[in-house]
């Protein structure tokens, strides 16, 4: 009787979720990193409308000249619409004013903008467009696991399809901004997959950009300095983790930015010149456990004169500096 119950439980769990083969993560006709999007030349005006699942976007030319200090706002895990126990109301007026006053060229969002796949929540489009229009329309949006909940990855692709017409996917891409190359990766299912890793290495071997960073949602390296990802969250296939580390070392990638973990604020220094920063969530949750965040955003300062990357922490609700700065070498 006991074994029947166990088999029934396993069947119920398996039947209540979808199973995605890893070889479908980057089942693409072409290498998504090959053709880069120039963030100094391509801008957008984002309307607060969605038509047939796609954001209404007006693509506009811009002309920006990167300086020796490139400052980029960084957010993750906003979870617009999340309302379960302890989650504080999402407040971002101070954040919008901060962006307005800062003249930032673009913004990086490490994913989980939505909560439980609820793209139909109009507050999501409102947040995305209001933030985007403060940064030349270049709200670089990484796909997270919540973007997949109850939805297919194609829903995410469709949403952003008008930003870069002709691009096969919005989940993986390469952006350039002067000497900087930013690789947007998809590990929303907890893995990169063979095809994405091969496309990535193929492009890295030809990329002559002086500086490179990776951005992804799920935390890659886990288990240092007593961080909680020792037990929960993080990628299961340590071979893929080591593959990413080798690629970063071999091709001069300075930094991997990740989210997902919520608690965040974790520095991993891989080699002397490569590392990962796991950012804390933008949304705030008041909880007795120590697995959540008081709500932060960051300014990523890429300082080409001092050859360092500084990640300056701010409170998301008040847009006030906390005094915390995380530093990585710029290789």
């Amino acid at each position: 009787m006991r074994k029947h119950i166990i088999l029934i439980i396993i069947s119920i769990v398996l039947s209540s979720c979808s199973i995605v083969p890893i070889w479908n993560i980057a089942k693409l006709r072409e290498n998504p990193f090959e053709s880069a999007i120039d963030l100094s030349r391509e801008g957008h005006i984002i309307r607060q409308n969605v038509k047939d699942g796609a954001l209404e976007v007006e693509n506009i030319p811009i002309s920006l000249t990167p300086g020796s200090l490139i400052s980029i706002p960084l957010i993750t895990d906003v979870h617009v619409g999340r309302s379960d126990s302890g989650v504080e109301e999402l407040e971002y007026e101070a954040f919008l004013s901060f962006l307005e006053n800062g003249d930032y060229p673009f913004l990086i969002n490490l994913g989980d903008l939505v909560d439980q796949g609820r793209f139909d929540n109009s507050d999501i489009i409102r947040f995305y467009s209001l933030v985007a229009n403060k940064v030349n329309g270049n709200h670089i949006y990484v796909i997270g696991n919540h973007e997949l909940h109850d939805e297919s990855p194609e829903r995410f692709d469709t949403l952003l399809s008008a930003m870069h017409p002709g691009k096969e996917t919005s989940r993986m891409a390469r952006y350039t901004f002067g000497p900087l190359s930013i690789y947007k990766l998809d590990n929303s299912l907890g893995a990169f997959g063979k095809e994405q890793l091969e496309y990535l290495e193929e492009t890295l071997s030809k990329d002559e950009s002086e500086y490179k960073i990776f951005i992804a949602h799920v935390n890659v390296a886990t288990g240092r300095t007593g961080d909680h990802s020792f037990v929960i969250t993080g990628m299961s296939d340590q071979r893929e983790v080591h593959r990413i580390m080798r690629l970063m070392d071999e091709y001069g990638v300075s930094l991997l930015l990740t989210g997902h973990h919520h608690k965040g604020n974790i520095e991993y220094h891989y080699t002397g010149s490569a590392g990962e920063f796991n950012a804390a969530s933008f949304h705030r949750r008041d909880t007795l456990t120590d697995f959540e965040s008081k709500g932060y955003f960051y300014i990523l300062e890429i300082d080409t004169l001092k050859n360092e990357i500084r990640i300056v922490q701010y409170m998301s609700q008040s847009a006030q500096k906390t005094g915390e700065v995380f530093t990585f070498p710029l290789s």
Binding site: R2, K3, I6, L7, I10, L14, S16, C17, S18, I19, V20, P21, I22, Q116, G117, N145, L148, H149, D150, L189, G190, A191, F192, G193, K194, L197, A221, T222, G223, R224, F230, V231, I232, T233, G234, M235, S236, D237, Q238, R239, E240, V241, H242, R243, M245, R246, M248, D249, Y268, H269, Y270, T271, A274
Partner: protein, 226 residues
């Protein structure tokens, strides 16, 4: 001269017989397998391996092409008729990129009726990962094994889900589910077919990732006290 040679031969024979006698007092098993194994970091699908066991101590080696090597040493401390305590050391390596090693303990119980068998195991696994490109990292995860099957001589079939098989030990918790069929060719020899899939991203609950699969055929020979 002749006497010395004769004495040497007798000594050698005595040692050989002593060895055979001691081996026959324990049960032992050796085997090998060939097959296919999909991993996202391997360009090869070709997998192969070998295993050996002496009484309650077992060793397993497996590889995918020349890219991914794993070895496991496990000791089963039996208590009574149904209780097993598994202590396992595992190591996994991809040359040039790094690897990880784990230490685990699982408490297990095995039940058998006339044609049916069932076992479960629950425990914990600690891991350390190493790479030329980073300092070590650590993990701590639950470990489990669940098997149910039937046996109708010379054939037995089981379905299982596990994190404890050598080829299925991972850094974080995944769900490996498979099917194993064994045909006993004789009291000592058997052949088996085994297949499993790997489901990752379990913490997400909404979307599991089919991150790997394996299919292998193998042969086992057992001897000693059967």
């Amino acid at each position: 001269m002749k006497k010395a040679k004769c004495l040497k031969r007798i000594s050698a024979l005595v040692l050989f017989l002593a060895a055979m006698t001691s081996v026959s007092a324990v049960s032992w098993k050796v085997g090998t397998f060939l097959g296919a194994r999909y991993r996202s970091t391997s360009s090869s699908l070709f997998s192969y391996g070998a295993f050996a066991a002496v009484d309650d101590l077992s060793f397993n080696f497996s590889a995918i092409g020349a890219e991914d090597f794993a070895a496991t040493l496990s000791y089963d401390l039996k208590v009574g008729k149904t209780i097993h305590n598994y202590f396992t050391i595992h190591t996994d390596n991809v040359p040039g990129e790094g690897g990880f090693s784990t230490l685990s303990y699982l408490f297990s119980q095995h039940f058998k009726s006339r044609h049916l068998f069932f076992s479960y195991a629950l425990g914990v696994q600690g891991g350390i990962s190493y790479s030329p490109f980073s300092p070590p990292f650590f993990s701590l995860i639950p470990a489990y094994d669940l098997r149910v099957g039937f046996c109708l001589s010379p054939f037995s079939l089981s379905i299982y889900t596990t994190t404890a098989m050598s080829e299925t030990i991972e850094w974080k918790m995944v769900l490996n589910s498979g099917l194993s069929a064994v045909i006993a060719l004789s009291e000592k020899q058997s052949v088996f077919v085994d297949t499993f899939i790997v489901l990752d991203n379990l913490m997400d609950v909404s979307n599991y990732l089919l991150s790997g699969w394996a299919l292998r055929v193998g042969y086992a020979y057992k001897g000693g006290a059967l």
